[in-house]
């Protein structure tokens, strides 16, 4: 299991469209992926869960990955939310 604390740098934060892309990215991996914000942890493969967190730009989140391709999953998702774009 891997865990990483990050600050969201994506300018728009995880609004509906970026959230959908984030979830799509998470679903490419077989590892279980979770996103945690303010002590609330949700499955990163579920769009409603991600949107219920209302992740804005600058918020502190934790990505947790667990499974065969956990490293790749963590890397890809980290890249997605820490790229300002």
């Amino acid at each position: 299991m891997l865990e990483k604390n990050l600050t969201v740098e994506l300018k728009t934060g995880l609004q509906a469209r970026p959230a959908a892309l984030f979830v799509q990215e998470a679903n490419r991996f077989s590892a279980d992926v979770f996103l945690e914000k303010d002590g609330k942890k949700v499955n990163a493969k579920s769009i409603m869960g991600i949107m219920s967190l209302a992740v804005g730009s600058g918020s502190k989140v934790t990505i947790v990955t667990d499974g065969k391709d956990e490293e790749e999953a963590l890397k890809a998702l980290e890249k997605y939310i820490t790229t300002a774009e």
Binding site: N27, K40, K41, V42, N43, K45, S46, I47, M48, G49, M51, S52, L53, A54
Partner: protein
């Protein structure tokens, strides 16, 4: 775990802050309330200092009858570093010795006009609901014939689609995808949706739909006690699924064990009907009718009767 601050209590119960303003950010971490009666009589061996202390008519009139030196000593002993606060009920005067000690320590002394018992029960209720342990679970919560059924399973297994079918059949959606669960007491788990996504359902290919505006107010609920969990998983050839229904599997959420059924998913299996029947069967079992058990007893009876096939 959530914490309640003295300030929240002041706002909620409109308490008067008499002393110790420095301490209004002290936190209350237990819902138990202590009425330090024996402590006032000098017995401090089991003084629960970490609880909110409530002084009523009995305690105060006893204290006021004490010798001044002893009163000062005992009231001072009541004020500890870990004590969140002291509440005086019925609008009684705060003994000056207590006020002094509280000011020194920055311990808030609050006053309410309510009677002690009333205040005590309202405080307990408030603290219990605020301090209840909570968690979030990935799944869908539906109210089926009055039974709160939590459907879990991997992403894409068809939880939301099943929920949609259940709503179409007249059942009620509580939460889709992310269910916030709060343990109200030892045996009660109550699930509710996160505010932002309540009434919504996400169906692959359709996107986000609003169940309340589509199906009406009768199709949703804002919270529901969870009684049963159903785990959906893609059919695994190497796994044996329950064929009898004699054994009950359970799943632990917070400190509560919930009955759990594992239902394999395969094209052609109508999950909504299966889950609907599972809920009905669960109700029936709770009413004392267990079909699997009855059948098994009957079978045992026949096996144990050697001359059964003699006629």
């Amino acid at each position: 775990m959530a914490n309640v601050h003295i300030k929240d209590l002041i706002d909620e119960f409109r308490l008067e802050l008499v002393h110790g303003e420095r301490g209004i950010h002290r936190t209350i971490s237990t819902s138990d309330i202590s009425r330090p009666g024996l402590e006032m009589a000098g017995y401090f061996a089991y003084y629960p200092a970490d609880r909110l202390q409530l002084l009523g008519k009995t305690e105060l009139s006893f204290v006021n009858g004490l010798d001044e030196r002893i009163r000062r000593e005992r009231l001072r002993k009541l004020c500890r570093e870990q004590t969140p606060g002291i509440i005086i009920s019925r609008g009684w005067e705060v003994p000056p010795e207590l006020g002094e000690a509280a000011e020194e320590m920055g311990l808030p002394i609050l006053r309410s006009q309510l009677t002690t018992t009333r205040l005590s029960s309202r405080l307990t209720n408030y603290l219990e609901s605020k301090l209840a342990p909570t968690t979030a679970v990935h799944g869908v919560l539906v109210d089926i014939y009055g039974i709160g059924v939590l459907i879990t399973g991997a992403s894409g297994v068809g939880k939301s689609e099943t929920a949609l079918e259940l709503v179409k059949r007249g059942h009620r959606l509580v939460a889709d995808d992310s269910v916030e669960i709060r343990q109200e007491d030892e045996k009660t788990l109550v699930g509710s949706p996160p505010d932002l996504i309540q009434h919504l359902l996400e169906i692959r290919g359709l996107g986000i739909i609003n169940v309340m505006t589509l199906f009406g107010a009768g199709a949703i609920r804002n919270f529901k006690k969870i009684a049963l969990t159903i785990h959906l998983e893609t059919w695994n050839q190497n796994k044996t699924y329950d064929r009898l229904g004699l054994d009950e599997e359970t799943m632990k959420i917070i400190d509560c064990e919930l009955p759990r059924l594992t239902v394999p998913v395969r094209p052609g299996r109508n999950l909504a009907v299966i889950i609907e029947v599972a809920a009905m069967n669960f109700r029936l079992k709770r009413m004392g009718v267990n079909a699997a058990q009855q059948f098994s007893d009957k079978l045992n009876n026949v096996i144990d009767t050697p001359d059964y096939d003699d006629f």
